[in-house]
Symmetry: C2
Subunit: 529 residues, 2 copies
């Protein structure tokens, strides 16, 4: 049976010879595939599609491997698709915002804020401490600060003899920052430290919405702005920055992807001549008119402690003039990038989904019998976690105690391979390593050897084992030889594994009340980093 698109299919072979299973990185070059590649055999069954290739390689594509999810077709979430293009009235019931302490403590709140930046282009954090440099802390919750000639951060306040217009008390019309930079900073943060002058309100305009309106109202003007690179430039004593990019950047399929709009920084346009030059200026003025339409102006006031995060490739930002005589206005800003924000959002979602699966397993399979003990599997692990916590163990060790036996689960959601008694530590550690650092996974991996070690190294330990544990010990290889025990004790994580082992042994008391899994979620999520 021939397969369609053989090179595409083969390029997606999921086997571990072709790919690193953890990163998804391919191990071969596209040119390593032979010319004239075809399928010699192809069989589809319930498990998936099995292909024997003409070069002898075998691929197995699990059923549904090519399924699309809700994000399919949105690419990297940088174009207009999948975004909420807005006008001011869409936020009549409030801005996308969160309280800073809640944002820090609650991953669902972090997800909501980062998703709002990606979808609506902005969010506001309230209650960020009114202290210098805190804006950098905000950026570091989802990414990396982008240093520029303005510094790691910049102060937006009135400066004597300002070279840059932003550092005066004048009104600033809706614009994007740093159009003269490529790569342009894709995110901007503005943290308000003081704002008690009359005026100085903030404004945002959805540049994608403005561009979409231009496309609908005057497609030729839109096309002209999209195809004309504009020379943006900024000079001061120590910088001479130049970028030549269109005001409306499109992806290769024609979707709106990036807005650069800032008349202050447009240098002399020399690439157009004759009627096209006049047509360009007419299109530019029309786009400018749209950006100033009242229904597009989202106006609000930043107070001390508010931190605005916005997409500088999409939103135009503005401020009204203010009167210096009436008070002060001081924002601290910094730049960061959307790719890291999206990565953080994806990892947060992946991690919370994994915790949901774990919680469901504790509630489902976990209610089952635990190897003949008087407690359930879930009660056993929750008790172990609670004992570690009560002992003041570091978070990674609490997590290891809590999760040490998940290798006994078979949950399809976890795609766990069934662990034999001898292997369940390995199985659990391998699965956990997708999410947790070695400080969690390695004590889990070693908690079975730790039992075998203690039977050899600690007089009286064997006598304390429960009957079920004595039974499994023989399946696990029995006590270690003295040589193996010495090697184990010298290895990394041995002490941690032994600690987990002791909580493991102690966590079989049917009289003890066990905390719910949910209590451990914040600790687990923090460790997932």
């Amino acid at each position: 049976m021939p397969v369609p698109h053989p090179y595409w299919l083969r390029d997606n072979c999921p086997c571990t010879e072709c790919r690193n299973p953890r990163s998804g990185q391919k191990r071969f070059r596209i040119g390593d595939l032979p010319d004239g590649l075809t399928a010699t055999e192809a069989v589809e069954d319930a498990a998936g599609l099995h292909v024997l290739w003409s070069d002898g390689h075998r691929s197995c594509y699990p059923a549904g491997w090519d399924a699309r999810d809700e994000d399919s077709g949105l690419g990297d979430h940088r174009t207009e698709h999948g975004k909420r293009l807005w006008e001011a009235a869409d936020f009549a019931r409030g801005l996308p915002e969160a309280d800073w302490p809640t944002y820090l403590a609650d991953p669902e709140e972090r997800i909501a804020v980062l998703a709002a930046v990606r979808r609506s282009g902005f969010a506001v954090l309230r209650g960020v401490p009114v202290e210098e440099r805190r804006v950098l802390d905000v950026a570091r919750t989802f990414g990396y600060v982008r240093d520029t000639n303005y510094g790691e951060l910049f102060d937006v306040r009135v400066e004597p003899d300002a070279v840059n217009f932003a550092f005066t008390d004048a009104a600033v019309a809706p614009h994007t920052d740093n159009p003269y930079r490529d790569p342009v900073p894709t995110l901007q943060l503005l943290h308000c430290l003081r704002n008690d002058a009359a005026g100085g309100d903030s404004g945002l305009v959805d540049g994608f919405r403005a561009a979409a309106l231009l496309r609908a109202e005057d497609p030729e003007a839109f096309a002209l702005l999209a195809r004309t690179p504009v020379p943006f430039r900024y000079r001061d004593r120590t910088a001479d920055l130049a970028a030549e990019m269109p005001m409306i950047g499109l992806d290769p399929r024609g979707a709106i992807r990036e807005i650069r709009f800032n008349n202050r920084s447009i240098d002399t346009l020399r690439s157009l001549r004759g009627a096209e030059l006049d047509a360009f200026y007419a299109a530019y003025r029309r786009f400018a008119e749209i950006t100033l339409r009242p229904e597009l102006q989202l106006e609000f006031r930043l107070g001390p402690g508010d931190c605005l995060i916005f997409d500088n490739t999409r939103l135009l930002h503005a401020r009204t003039a203010f009167e210096q005589a009436t008070g002060g206005r001081h924002l601290q800003g910094c730049y960061a990038d959307l790719d890291s924000l999206s990565s953080t959002l994806s990892v947060l979602r992946r991690n919370t989904a994994a915790l949901d699966e774990l919680e469901a397993l504790f509630a489902g399979e976990g209610a089952g019998e635990y190897l003949g003990e008087a407690v359930t599997m879930a009660e056993h692990m929750l008790q172990a976690g609670a004992l570690a916590r009560a002992a003041g163990a570091p978070p990674a060790l609490v997590a290891a105690a809590l999760l040490h036996d998940i290798g006994h689960f078979h949950g399809s959601g976890l795609e766990l391979m069934a662990g034999t008694d001898n292997r369940h530590g390995e199985t659990a550690a391998d699965w956990l390593s997708r999410y947790f650092p070695a400080a969690v996974t390695e004590p889990v991996r070693l908690h079975v050897p730790a039992k075998r070690y203690l039977c050899t190294a600690e007089p009286g330990y064997f006598a304390k084992l429960s009957p079920a544990s004595v039974h499994t010990l023989s399946l696990q290889g029995g006590p270690m030889t003295p040589e193996d025990a010495a090697a184990f004790a010298a290895g990394p994580f041995a002490a941690d594994a032994i600690a987990v082992r002791r909580w493991d042994e102690a966590a079989k008391d049917p009289a003890v009340s066990t905390p719910p899994f949910a209590e451990f979620r914040p600790l687990l999520l923090e460790l997932m980093g």
Copy 2:
């Protein structure tokens, strides 16, 4: 007389009402210009084009304001235009390289290195100290380090159980880094700390050249790669990065602007169907074949202390496999960006051009009489600079002493306005402020008031003035009142201005030999930062 392209011309009005003369930033919005703008009068004479606009504004465009320079048409230097597209044989006589100490000491060497990165896509610095983290110092000579999930810097060496292919001893085919990131890091630096294993040679391929070859040999394949966004992705425990961009990125006019080439990181391409999907893979394989052609492989070996700087949006980099058993290989790398590199290059060129002009003025007008003194203008200033230097003054004060009287020059190259005796400090300081910080300009600005101050504040000072200086004192306003003197002494830079004044007074000795201007160039250039 009607003017062509009135909005374009008006948008370029150079007057200080329309623009900040220091940054070139415009002070108006494009929509502030009225509808139906026309010229009421337009007169062209030797000085330039004088326009009276229908809204009453007057613009004066100096003759030649729209002249193109050698860089015109190259935009921001990011496309194939103006670059040297190369094959390996083009470097048969050596790589673009420089010695690290020379690079640091000599701005012409810095200019050569940075220009090579922009034009050929790379350069090598030799003799960078073989110490960890020094690669960051290299990046900071022209820009800002871009932090990523790999850290501020990354170590390229064999890691146990590496998730990323780079951290093994395997050969790595020509590729660009981080195609799954947008904005992608536009520059990469690799600093060799150790390379004594067998193998582990470095390779570079000009991706623009490879793409240009594909365009020439198979225009349809080129067009398909240029118009198909490819889903690049990288996942590990703490990151999930995705960018959807074409392998060959074009600017809106169709010039090659950016290459992303890395099969390791290509996720499942879902946007094409049917024959187009097969055509895409055929085009991709053809492009891959070109990148591997022997004549395109520039191969060399990095030794300890070598630091390779290259354009990650253009060059593909590679390494041969190496044998761990035979020795170690350790590079430290970091990312940075081309926009800052270009800015640094422009500022260096601007600064060396300004020093050339100053040096020419010292040699030309400077040979003229100095207000009736027994030394020339140039001798006077050079002596003042030498006296400050001999006194151990900080560099800014040496520069101020050296340049304090340039306000007397009329050099057209400097576009200096003639300074009256009373104003020549101001004139010099205004001109110098384009290049120098306040620590240089303000003592220059205040060196005339400092004389008036000393006449009041210091008994016996007046008696020491030369006859010419007594004459000019009266033109400069005579001794300060006691109130003015107190205010002057309390102001910033007063002590520095007084120091300059004393060297000024002392620098009129025809018997003293004066150092040449060139001796001061490194100090001046360092201050220009």
